[in-house]
């Protein structure tokens, strides 16, 4: 139980760091695997959000705007949920420690 919490916390911290280490244009080239794009040629509102957020993390605002305008709304929400998850994991770990002492 405790180890899974630790793994969760480590992953939560490692994911943004790895995304920051990778170059901003890491996801730009390559084929789309989205079914709606490949079969029907329709792009939904989520299309390009990965690329846009990848550029936004590296403070490349123009490119982020070019790939998806909604990334400016999504990134703050993403950051909020990220800190919420990691804080929850830390809290649970602390409670486990207290139980052990008793």
């Amino acid at each position: 139980m405790k180890t899974t919490e630790y793994i969760k916390l480590i992953l939560l911290i490692l994911i943004p760091i790895t995304l920051l280490i990778l170059p901003a244009n890491f996801f730009d080239n390559g084929k789309s695997v989205c079914l709606s794009v490949m079969l029907l040629d329709i792009e939904c509102y989520g299309c390009g959000i990965t690329r846009a957020i990848m550029h936004l993390i590296h403070f490349d605002l123009e490119e982020a705007l070019y790939y998806n305008i909604l990334s400016f709304i999504v990134l703050p929400i993403l950051i909020y949920t990220w800190q919420d998850f990691s804080r929850g994991a830390i809290k649970r770990l602390k409670f486990m420690k207290i139980d052990k002492h008793k």
């Binding site: 943004p16 920051l20 080239n29 490949m38 590296h58 705007l65």
Partner: protein, 208 residues
């Protein structure tokens, strides 16, 4: 609680300030170009070619590319508003200029012109690309292996990949038997991935 949080925050802040990603662009611009040379869309711009001082025969090709690219950029930057008159202009465009406009992105324009685009220009570029995409002719009919594979994975239980590849009879059988009790669909996934199961007439236009 506060201690761990502060440690994590300081780690993140120090990392974001000291990560060498921003510097890498400055140091190894040549290396970056070389690294991406094997990919399709990346072209060496003229200024970079002059910096590296390659022999004249090698410079010529990038120069040509840059000039035609610059004309496409000029058309993008000149656009005042994307409306009906513009779409008429777009209809008369050649296929090569269409492809160049579709391949453009803010960073590419920044590399060639040396100027940052404003947000308004970025939005105009996006709209123009949409119009160009709408008015250009649809690509040639052909069957892609990737589409067939994805259909087999996601809708294999209904035999949709069989309809896509042209085997209508087998498709109906798979539809009624839930993909041959799932086993036949599984076999089809492997056969499509290895290339054994192709379209009924001819072969795939793009392969994996």
């Amino acid at each position: 609680m506060k201690k761990t949080l502060s440690i994590i925050l300081t780690l993140l802040v120090t990392f974001s300030f000291t990560n060498c990603h921003q510097k890498q662009y400055g140091y190894v611009q040549q290396g970056k170009v070389e690294n991406f040379a094997h990919k399709k869309n990346v072209k060496v711009s003229a200024s970079q070619a002059e910096e590296s001082q390659i022999t004249s025969s090698e410079i010529k090709a990038p120069n040509l590319l840059a000039s035609s690219e610059e004309s496409a950029i000029a058309t993008v930057l000149e656009v005042q508003s994307v409306s009906n008159d513009i779409s008429q202009e777009v209809v008369e465009m050649k296929q090569s200029t269409r492809n160049e406009i579709l391949a453009l992105s803010p960073n590419k324009i920044k590399e060639i012109t040396g100027k940052k685009m404003t947000f308004g220009q970025v939005l105009k570029l996006k709209e123009l690309q949409k119009v160009v995409k709408k008015t250009s002719k649809p690509a040639e009919e052909g069957k892609s292996q990737l589409v067939a594979l994805l259909l087999a994975i996601f809708l294999g239980g209904l035999g949709i990949h069989r309809f896509y590849l042209g085997y209508t009879k087998y498709g109906i059988i798979q539809l009624l038997t839930a993909g041959g009790c799932g086993i036949w669909a599984l076999i089809d996934i492997i056969n499509i991935a290895t290339g054994k199961l192709g379209p009924k007439d001819g072969s795939y236009t793009d392969k994996l």
